[in-house]
Amino acid sequence: MKKGFSLLEVLVSALLLNLGIYLSMQVHQHFLLIEKRNKQEKEKFLLQIATLDSLVKVQPLCKSETIEKESLYFHIEPVSINPPFVRVEVKGKTLWRIIPCKI
């Protein structure tokens, strides 16, 4: 019985091993990218919340406008003048809020 590996077996093994390492690196890379994306999304989301809340404090005017704050764009649209309320939404309508406005 022949002992040892043939050259072909060694090559195939090396190829598969390399393929495995390559795939694991790709998966790791993918994982890191998703983590980064999640982190960015979370930061963006928290920023949206904080900025939307801060708009309540500064109390926008009762007029239609788009304002830029913290690199985010917020669209303000009056819903009622008397009593004075506006709808503020993060552009893209993912998050909105009704708040009192200043006449």
Binding site: K3, V27, D53, P83, R87, L95, P100
Partner: protein, 321 residues
Amino acid sequence: MVKGSWEMNRGASLPIVLAILFSLLPLSMVLISLSDNGMQGILVEHKRFQELYKAEASIYARLYALPIKNLFNVRIEENGFWDKACVNLFQGELCAVYGYGFENYHFLKNNLELQEAFKSRLLSLKNTLYIQDTLYGNRYFERLPSECFAVENGDVRVQLDSSLNKACIFCSGDILFRGRGSVDTLMLFGGGAIRLEGEWRMRHLEAHTSEKISLTTIKFQGVVSAREVALENRTIGEYPSVIALMPASWNGKTSLEFQYGSHFIGTLWNAEINSEMDILPDKNIKANLLGFSKDWELKKDIPMPAFFGAHSGTPIILEWL
């Protein structure tokens, strides 16, 4: 012929390599799944926030008759002096407690006026003793407890070093409440200054006067209304929620000083249009008074809540109508 080291165990390394390769697949699936779960968490949180805002908007819309569609149903529980607007949210509900204040805004000058006013609003109400505010945990009495007593002339001074279940005092003059202990419910209606000092823990405090209210080192939750309110440092913070109601700060500016890290949920009410209210040191809680137009004041057919509860984490909105 000299053999290489790979000749030792023929056929053994190939399955190992394959095993490594295939073991990476489920691992990668797990990692990807975990990552996506993180994103799902963000999306769920996002939806939760939006629902909270929508619930707030629903209450606003209902109270102010705003023409906004597709909001949650608001359940109004009418209890006379204090009404409650609730929206079912998540597993529980978001509620705002509000009242309608006095039609002709003025402060009561004497004990008789006080009694008449509060009796007409509180005593004429229904059977239950109080309503429980689920949002703040406060209790609002619909009728006065039997322990109430009135002092027609002069001041009231209370020095107490024991705990108290309930107390209710009408007084045309000043009220000084001093000592230590815990109080379940204390209701004070004064014509003069009200001062509470000492190591008190008050589960529900209601204090109304046309003059000044000073609270020193009192830990309380409840409602306070006066021309001038002084809450000294170390006051507030004992309980997870506090409502401080200040309808009569004609001086234009009222300041509240909180303990660092104290948690405030509640409503501040300031009569002065375009005045400011700063709450220190927590810059995250800054309350702005809304400058409403005169037209709105005159418009009688719109319900005008005298105050409105803000949910934890949201800015406190001050309103005077």
